[in-house]
Amino acid sequence: MTTLTSPAVRIRGLTKAFDQRPVIDGLDLDVRPGEFVALLGRSGCGKSTLLRILAGLDTEIGGQVEMPGRRAVAFQAPRLMPWKRVWQNVVLGLPGRPDRALAQRYLDEVGLSGKTAVWPKTLSGGEAQRVSLARALVREPDLLLLDEPFGALDALTRVKAQRLVADLWTAHGCAVLLVTHDVEEALLLADRVLVMDGGVIAHEVAVDLARPRPVGHPTLVALRTELLGRLGISEPAK
């Protein structure tokens, strides 16, 4: 849908420190337009910091970051404004006077046609997260940043939300950077899985499998073992 001419993200020698303690230390990263990249890493490895930098929330950085102007974020918590109805949340911050019909289109897409005019307090966790996705997509981003958006969902809702994200990505063709703790989720969704460690991208695997991917696919199982090893968890002996 969106036509891109330059790479979606190009990062060179990125550094970021908190109180002189480097969290990101000379990181390089390229994301092609329309590519789905998943970012794994242990807690505190700086993956969320990287996402915040890409979201424009952290500007005190060293190094070079090139990214598209149109970016959108879905956070781990949906962060909907409780005092705005669902559709007003979706179009919040858009330039001009966006109308309800626009929000409706994107709410239809995430399967929430009937929830347009309700207060966020009436939504379930999964529904709120889908509103958050609609709010990101309505901005027609070239780069969609997902910060563990399924982390707080129960297992079933999570599977549904993952499929929804896969469908939305296919339909919109934007580049996606998904920060997650879940190795399986990363392998099911992404073209490329990165492991962040020591403030840099320490490891990366390409997942060249057609979608939708069966969880038990031998390639995925092998990659899962490899990635878990990189994250410091060895598979228990069978």
Binding site: A55, M81, W83, G93, P120, K121
Partner: protein
Amino acid sequence: MSSQQTSIVSAPPPDRASSDGPLVPSARPAGAGPPSAPTTRGASGAGRRNRWQLPRPVRRAGGPLATLLLWWLLSATGVLSPEVLASPGTVFGKALSMIADGELPTAIAVSGRRVVLGFGIGAVIGTALALVAGLLRLGEDLVDSTVGMFRTLPWVGLIPLFIIWFGINEEPKIALIALGVTFPIYFNLYAGIRGVDAQLVEAGRVLGLGRWGLVRHVVLPGALPGALVGLRYALGTAWLALVWAEQVNASQGIGYLMNNAQQFFQTDVIVVCLVTYAVLGLLCDLIVRLATKYLLSWRASFEGA
């Protein structure tokens, strides 16, 4: 999404699935009681509620009505002499005659004007200060400690100073009300602004809201619950400040009626005036409460058990 979960969870036996309190059937050993036991218990619970629980408004009116009855009984039996406290009947009759001859409505108009003006001035000052201190860090440094300092002054104690500054007419009364109103408005709105969830502000920034957009769509709506508490508190303070202010050199208004009545031991008039203060304060509170209910209908909060 949740429907799928429910269908999986409710797969076990039909009698368990039909009851929404899984603790009741599972606490009983299987087959021990009659199969309809959970339903009977549920129905008797509901019946008990219907028989004993009066509608809430009736329950709430019970206490005040009982107090009124006690007052009437004490007056009728002569335990309370009219010089101490007039009977409810006398007070009611006096109120009607004071309304009929226009004495009370005129006094209410005069006192109401003081409250409206004083409250308006205090609310504007309090809101302005809270916005400056809440939205700007420089404003916080300049304003907050200053307001905090003035807050420690007992505002009722400023009456003599206000009389020297403003004379003995309407001005010191309005000034006292304004001063009393400023603090609750300021502190609650300021706390409300600073209590806004930083994550929502961040989300607003990511969504492309500018400074003014953030204030309008995120910070102020987020501060509204606090501001409304401040408003309610401030209205209460306004009526209280009025009572104090009207004790000083009032030549008209509810307080004047009360001072006059004191000279002649007219306890009925005093009670009428007190009740008038109370009713006016209650009316204001009711309006704010209704407004709160409407303005905060988005809020998911505990509503009492």
